[in-house]
Symmetry: C2
Amino acid sequence: MSHNLDHQFDRAIQLSGDAGRYTGATTVEYANMVGPFGGVLASTLLSAVLKHPECQGEPVALTVNFAAPVTDGEFDITAVPVRTSRSTQHWTMSLMQNREVAMTATAIFALRRKTWEATDSDMPQVQGPDDLVALPEVMPIPKLFSNYDIRMVRGNIAPLPQAEAYAKDSSESVLWVRDKPTRVLDFPSLTAMADIFFPRIFVRRQRPAAAGTISLTIHFHADSRALAAVGDSFVLGHARAKRFYNGYADQTGEVWSKDGVLLATTSQTVYFKE
Amino acid sequence: MSHNLDHQFDRAIQLSGDAGRYTGATTVEYANMVGPFGGVLASTLLSAVLKHPECQGEPVALTVNFAAPVTDGEFDITAVPVRTSRSTQHWTMSLMQNREVAMTATAIFALRRKTWEATDSDMPQVQGPDDLVALPEVMPIPKLFSNYDIRMVRGNIAPLPQAEAYAKDSSESVLWVRDKPTRVLDFPSLTAMADIFFPRIFVRRQRPAAAGTISLTIHFHADSRALAAVGDSFVLGHARAKRFYNGYADQTGEVWSKDGVLLATTSQTVYFKE
């Protein structure tokens, strides 16, 4: 994996160290409302596996848990290959700050072989990104959104422009997204984009609330060749919550290429406060 | 948590030991085609947290990874509370056999507080379980299915009876399920039921294939009071795969109470061989 550190995303997920013990740091570009963007932290944990000398295959599943708030500054990451078979490799990772665990994670990497394939899900039929205006960089959007060109199709939140895209009693959002400046899609950037959606409670209730992801799972349905074929094009993100109940909601989503390839499916558990 | 060991499910998830270091064993009742039923192993890892003296709150998220085949016999489980805050507790777990890691897992427990709630997903409108005949216990159904009363609505697999319920170019299954003999629903049994579906590749292609879950995530949308309200009634399971690609597919599903409460959402990564 080569890093072109000209792009702020590559600087954000950059790690030093080797053989599973790494040091990184949050960057000001990817600040969220409080602390750094969780999607980039998830990417950084995945990158710790990708740069490990024993890494075999490509990611098929990733779960990242936010155990405590990550604060701005340095952090340590460990990545351990706990079991390797002929076709799969299982990893456990953790992110530490001040000698305490702030994040835990597991990843499964696999050597894919050509098989029969099928997609049993419908890509939302929507306007193309060129027919939509970019989400403006205005408050109260956190700084991290300056790193993305987002074209909202539907499921915006009330304080933002593009009122026509507001949801009505629905937690669903559909949006086009790509890095700004553009950057060729890879597993780390796809991981971050799978977490680009506003918390579903904002969309469903059309008002702000305290909310934060506590667990994020991504199932990857593409290999690096399929991601390279996407290049720096927009991808289509689709997210909704199926249930909000006593402080926790899910977020279930998909990320599609413009050509209709389902690149990833994702689910989250999100804390919210009324 | 009290265990009534009269039921074979409670014997299957029984652990000895304390403070996060436990020993258990597979039971013949829950044999799958090869090795033990993964859903019961996932339940056993969750039970290791539930019986830990430091356990706080109730499960909201669980991810279990199958790193290597678990063989019939004894196993060791560790469960570690890596971070506890006022409202959440993060756990890492592992299952070892022959001193090697066979499974890894993470769980998040939380103290729920009363909030606004909503369901943004439609329960499939189907016949009730009393209008459907039980799935017969015939080969080639693995032995584990003897522990469940299953009423297939749609998405059966070809070698089994109830041809009217076969899928046509669809990976979707809908079924009613409860323990046999009946048992009041709790987090461990809900965990196992969230994994009761045949591999989606069987349904989509209407023929057997080598297949196995390698990662299973469950987001719980109910607390123990809501589960107790279900009692020993049937619950409705709904599963489909969104994409099959080069050896791996997802399985995305929901488990509903008869009264329309969304109890859990789940996603898996499943290995398949053509």
